[in-house]
């Protein structure tokens, strides 16, 4: 099985500062890979490189086997991105936002009933889709973005600190949705500093520090306490 997401010696420097140092990783369909690390560890840089929002200084990033730099538009067909600050058009309703992005993603209009069914499956409160997004909480905006990902039928999800700023219930709902999508074969790359969420959701965890991927762990081989200890060891040396 070819990896959905792949980084080969992926490097990014900003001037003399190396934000990402020769990263190698693979995320297969159905797998949830959590990038764990403090601020500045290179997690967001990795996601930005996969999105081709920034140019790599060295190495390559592949989505579905295609280089993101040489195939900027084709590679984006397969991915859905959920940023830390989920921003939508404030003056449009949730449904209008979903419809806009879904149409852009698919290159053609998506049936309304289908879009509504996505909104139901992300558990957006009934009736909320016709309210302006400016009245939404972060959790609700995130649900819209997940519905967009569903409408896009994305094969890979790129999540940047998705649970920061969510209350525990919303955070839990979010995790369930992500796991459901992974269960359906979506590859997920999630940047987080939430150890608990990483252990709960992740199939594998990559610990990052100062632009380097220090260790990759299979979550089912370690308990919460082990994970915290290993993580802290990496942060201290």
């Amino acid at each position: 099985m070819i990896p959905m997401l792949q980084a080969k010696d992926l490097t990014k420097s900003f001037g003399s500062h190396t934000a990402l140092h020769s990263l190698n990783l693979e995320v297969k369909p159905g797998e949830i890979f959590c990038l764990l690390g403090a601020n500045g560890a290179g997690k967001t840089t990795t996601i930005n490189l996969f999105l081709n929002f920034i140019e790599p200084s060295g190495g390559q990033a592949f989505i579905n086997g295609q280089d993101v730099v040489t195939h900027p538009l084709e590679t984006k067909k397969h991915i859905a991105y959920i940023p830390e600050q989920v921003s939508l058009y404030r003056n449009l309703t949730g449904y209008e936002n979903l419809e806009y992005f879904a149409t852009l993603a698919n290159g053609a209009a998506v049936e309304k009933s289908l879009l509504i069914s996505y909104l139901r499956s992300v558990d957006l409160p009934s009736g909320a889709e016709d309210r302006k997004v400016s009245t939404y909480s972060k959790g609700m905006r995130q649900k819209i973005v997940i519905a967009i990902a569903m409408a896009k039928q994305a094969k890979a999800l790129l999540l940047d600190e998705p649970t920061s700023g969510l209350d525990p219930k919303a955070s839990n709902e979010f995790s369930q949705l992500i796991r459901k999508m992974a269960g359906q074969g979506t590859a997920v790359l999630m940047a987080t500093h939430d150890l608990f969420r990483a252990k709960e959701d992740g199939s594998r965890i990559g610990i990052m520090r100062q632009g380097k991927l220090r260790q990759v762990l299979n979550t089912d081989e370690f308990g919460h306490a082990d994970l915290e200890r290993i993580y802290l060891e990496h942060m201290h040396d």
Partner: protein
């Protein structure tokens, strides 16, 4: 896809209170200016029509008198106004639209509203053209400065670009969105304007004005397209929406306020016009010299091989008047051509301003198509002057050929009727277009370059970060 983007842009605009207020103001101003233009056009063309009939009637019914007195009595000629002048009054307020044609003199034009206006007039007339040349670009800037920069600040740009939308399509969609928003405003205004034009036109003449009207519409569309392109390009490149707005407003001020002032001052500095007083002094001096009555008398006697004026086969008075006219005409031709060439040189220099400010180009085109620019004023003046010479010549020929009797020679209505009524047809649209070729060319370059700049900025410079 592109239409989908455009539709969303328009939906956002429609929900934005600021846009609603701004466009309501602009639409109101546009309609008011059209109404004022229409009312003025109707009033003035009615006055012209009456005055034309009156001056002709006075001429024909002036009773018996010496033909030279009749030549002094003179007639008025009125520059016909195109119905399109209700959109753009152009230079008419300064050049005047009526001239008195009489013996011996090529008069200056009369009815110059600018002469009676107070300093408030310096702010410009409220005409549809000034609204379209100044306020619509401002509205375009307000509609599009945040197109990219705002989305980047809001954070929606990252999500948008992650969808895999081609940036050129995105830019085109946004441009169409602004154009659509503008269309919502301009289409009703254009309908009102066309209705006003149809009402203002005599039967059949609306169709005759259609080529001018469609060229005018095309020119304004190019002008607006240039602003949409510039605004989107700046929005894609600028670090923040605020910075984009500041840059665009700076350009707007330069284009609409600074450049016209700059180029009019520059053109006056480079091509100096004599003062009105100096001009008439020189005219008087030149008219006095160069024509020697004694010499002329000798040459006439020699030409007809007679020794006394009484032996001439013609009346000497008529010959002398003709010769005097001929001399005057030479002077007029020389001096007016000099003066008008200066004006035209000034105009040409101002049209060069279109290179840096598209307003200078659209202003020239708009005036030209409305028939209110200097070139068409000059064309009318030349035609009126030709008519004056022809009709004075009819009078002088009559005097020269009058039977030699003791009784004073009088002209009557048969003589007056020999002078046809003054008719003037405005230059064809082809003539106007060739006069405006430079400005039209600049306008299309602006529209094209701005579109390319927007496409380039969106595809090469638009960053999610």
């Amino acid at each position: 896809m592109i239409l989908h983007i455009a539709r969303k842009e328009m939906l956002e605009m429609r929900r934005d209170g600021r846009f609603q207020i701004a466009s309501a103001i602009v639409l109101t101003l546009l309609c008011v200016s059209l109404a004022i233009g229409w009312q003025q056009y109707m009033a003035i063309s009615r006055q012209h029509e009456l005055a034309r009939a009156e001056t002709r009637n006075q001429w024909l019914t002036q009773g018996q008198k010496n033909p030279h007195s009749a030549a002094h009595y003179g007639v008025y000629a009125f520059k016909p106004r195109s119905p399109l002048s209700l959109v753009d009054r152009g230079a008419d307020n300064y050049t005047g639209v009526a001239v008195w044609l009489e013996a011996h003199k090529q008069n200056e034009f009369k009815y110059k509203p600018a002469r009676d206006a107070n300093t408030l007039a310096r702010f410009g007339d409220l005409t549809a053209s000034s609204v379209m040349q100044l306020l619509i670009p401002l509205l375009i800037i307000l509609m599009s400065f945040s197109a990219f920069a705002g989305e980047r600040e809001q954070g929606t740009l990252r999500l948008l670009l992650s969808m895999g939308v081609a940036k050129d399509k995105l830019a085109l969609g946004k441009a169409l969105g602004v154009a659509g928003g503008l269309g919502v405003l301009l289409v009703p205004a254009a309908l009102i304007g066309s209705a006003a034009l149809i009402l203002a036109s005599e039967t059949g003449s609306f169709a005759a004005n259609l080529p001018r009207l469609s060229w005018m519409a095309t020119s304004y569309v190019m002008y607006f397209a240039a602003f949409i392109g510039i605004s989107l390009a700046v929005s894609a490149v600028a670090k923040s929406a605020r910075l984009a707005l500041v840059c665009l407003l700076g350009f707007w001020i330069f284009n609409g306020l600074a450049a016209p002032r700059l180029f009019s001052d520059l053109s006056r500095a480079v091509y100096r016009t004599p003062s009105s007083f100096a001009f008439s002094q020189r005219m008087e001096a030149e008219l006095k010299t160069g024509f020697d009555e004694v010499e002329f008398k000798k040459s006439v006697l020699a030409r007809y091989k007679v020794s006394k004026l009484e032996d001439l086969p013609l009346n000497y008075a008529g010959l002398s008047l003709k010769a005097g006219e001929d001399h005057g005409n030479e002077v007029f031709d020389k001096l007016y051509a000099e003066l008008w060439d200066i004006f035209e040189a000034q105009n040409r220099l101002q049209q060069q301003g279109g290179i840096v400010a598209p307003l200078m180009a659209i202003r020239s085109v708009s005036m030209g198509l409305s028939g209110t620019d200097f070139a068409q004023f000059r064309d009318f003046s030349v035609t009126a002057e030709k008519y004056r010479r022809a009709f004075i010549d009819v009078m002088n020929t009559d005097i020269a050929n009058a039977p030699k009797t003791e009784a004073p020679h009088l002209g009557d209505k048969n003589l007056w009727a020999k002078v046809p009524a003054f008719e003037y047809t405005s230059p064809s649209v082809g003539t106007v277009l060739s006069q405006q070729a430079w400005s039209l060319g600049l306008l299309s370059i602006w529209a094209l370059a701005a579109s390319i700049a927007a496409g380039w900025a969106a595809t090469q410079r638009l960053k999610a970060e």
